[in-house]
Amino acid sequence: MFRRIPRRDDEESRSLVTIFIEGKPIQVPTGEMVAAAVLASGLGWVRSTPVSGAPRMPYCLMGVCFECLMEIDGVPNSQACMTRVREGMRVERQAGVRPLSEV
């Protein structure tokens, strides 16, 4: 789990959006990485692997490890560290192999 430390007190830094992590609304800074928002939310795992079902969390936060794959706005296997929060965004964990989706 991560905690936030004091932020710049300006408009860019104060602006917030609401996203839904596992259905729970949470206010996060505009433009933040989804992975950061998830880490701050206290979610204990973001996906379980399609091979053994082991739980995983974001690992590199720079787009190379693909550990932070989540279902974002209905699209499975989205990299949470390469996606920015948007107002109303829905972020879900992924258990095991991704499903097909019609999105």
Binding site: N77, V97, R98, P99
Partner: protein, 368 residues
């Protein structure tokens, strides 16, 4: 080094030939420029199909299927074969009519393995298929196998039957000394009375050295594979009016091929991909399986394959030398035939004949 036979090329056909020869009591040395299964045999789509074959190939393909359905007994090893069925969809009525004519033609030749199914049955077999597909042919005993695992299993089977494999060994020169072939390679000299040319994309060069030049071209069929997806498609699916090969493996990954070619560089043993051709395959796959739209492609590649002008292989004795045989030019659909090709070669080597009709595959058809 000496053996009864020297087999050039450790792909599926070379390994199978060495295995059948070994089991018939003929020792062999298999020469491979890279490693067994490095090229087309190890990296192809793994389709095990009788469906849609050229009429001349059907007797061989049907005979090969006997091996595939009993592979564990035959090899004592798993080739990853899954009897999922193969389906060829018709995207409109005119394609459906072509399929009906095809099946009627096969019936008249006495073959019943291809079967017409209607849209309801297609939806039942392949629920994810697009609604515009009106029907299909199905071959229920067809399926797929894992190519590299298959080549490895045949190699091990051949080794168990006494064959020796020499990897990293490129053939430089063939010299005929009386009734013996002297094969000079990049690192060894092999002598054997029997010579088998199973060298795939490089077989044209060997044939030329045997004074049997053939118009073989080298192509690089491209494939792509996806991330793992929850199971949604059991059979292997092809199309009628455009090239497609589509299958989901048990691990969830989806393999898409479709006949589009990259550029092959056989001298460097490398291929270049053509992204435009891959995009075309992706469009075909997406139109027949709309549910695939947001599934990610992780890797594209191409194999190096020998293609004959008439689209069927060269299988049979050399027209110029005794105890010398060819099996190449499978034109991107040879994987399924692997088990039977080796048997044909062994039968020809041992008893100078085979019970299967192979006249259509004679190298003589390209020689004056």
């Amino acid at each position: 080094m000496h053996a009864d036979a020297v087999v050039i090329g450790a792909g599926i056909h070379g390994c199978s030939a060495a295995l059948h020869l070994g089991r018939a009591g003929i020792s062999s040395i298999v020469l491979e420029q890279a490693y067994p299964g490095r090229h087309a045999s190890g990296v192809n789509a793994g389709g095990v199909r009788r469906l849609g074959r050229h009429p001349a190939e059907i007797p061989l393909s049907v005979a090969a299927m006997g091996f595939w359905l009993n592979m564990e007994d035959f090899l004592g090893q798993d080739c990853g074969f899954r009897r999922t069925g193969q389906v060829k969809v018709a995207e409109d009525e005119s394609e459906m009519e072509r399929l009906r004519q095809r099946v009627a033609q096969l019936r008249s030749l006495g073959f019943t393995h291809e079967e017409i199914i209607d849209q309801d049955e297609l939806k039942h077999l392949v629920p994810a298929v697009s609604g515009h597909c009106v029907g299909a042919i199905v071959c229920r005993d067809d399926g797929y196998a894992l190519p590299f695992q298959t080549v490895t299993a045949f190699r091990k089977g051949a080794e168990a039957a006494g064959a020796q494999f020499k990897a990293g060994c490129r053939v430089d020169k063939l010299v005929r000394r009386g009734s013996i072939w002297q094969v000079q390679t990049s690192r060894l000299m092999i002598e054997a009375p029997i010579l088998v040319n199973c060298s795939g994309a490089w077989a044209g060069g060997i044939a030329e050295q045997l004074d049997e030049p053939v118009p073989v071209s080298v192509e690089a069929p491209m494939l792509m594979i996806s991330e793992r997806v929850a199971p949604f498609c059991n059979p292997v699916v092809g199309a009628t009016g455009r090239p497609l090969s589509f299958k989901q493996f048990e691990n969830g990954t989806v393999l898409i091929g479709g006949g589009h070619r990259g550029q092959a560089d056989p001298a460097r043993q490398e291929t270049q991909l053509d992204m435009g051709g891959l995009a075309f395959s992706a469009r075909t796959a997406q139109e027949i399986f709309p549910c695939m739209r947001n599934v990610r492609v992780l890797r594209c590649w191409a194999g190096i394959e020998a293609v004959m002008p008439d689209g069927i292989p060269v299988i049979g004795p050399s027209a110029k030398f005794p105890d010398t045989f060819h099996a190449f030019g499978f034109s991107a659909h040879g994987f399924q035939l692997g088990p039977i090709t080796g048997q044909i070669i062994a039968h020809l080597a041992v008893q100078s004949e085979t019970s299967l009709p192979i006249e259509a595959f004679s190298i003589g058809r390209f020689l004056e």
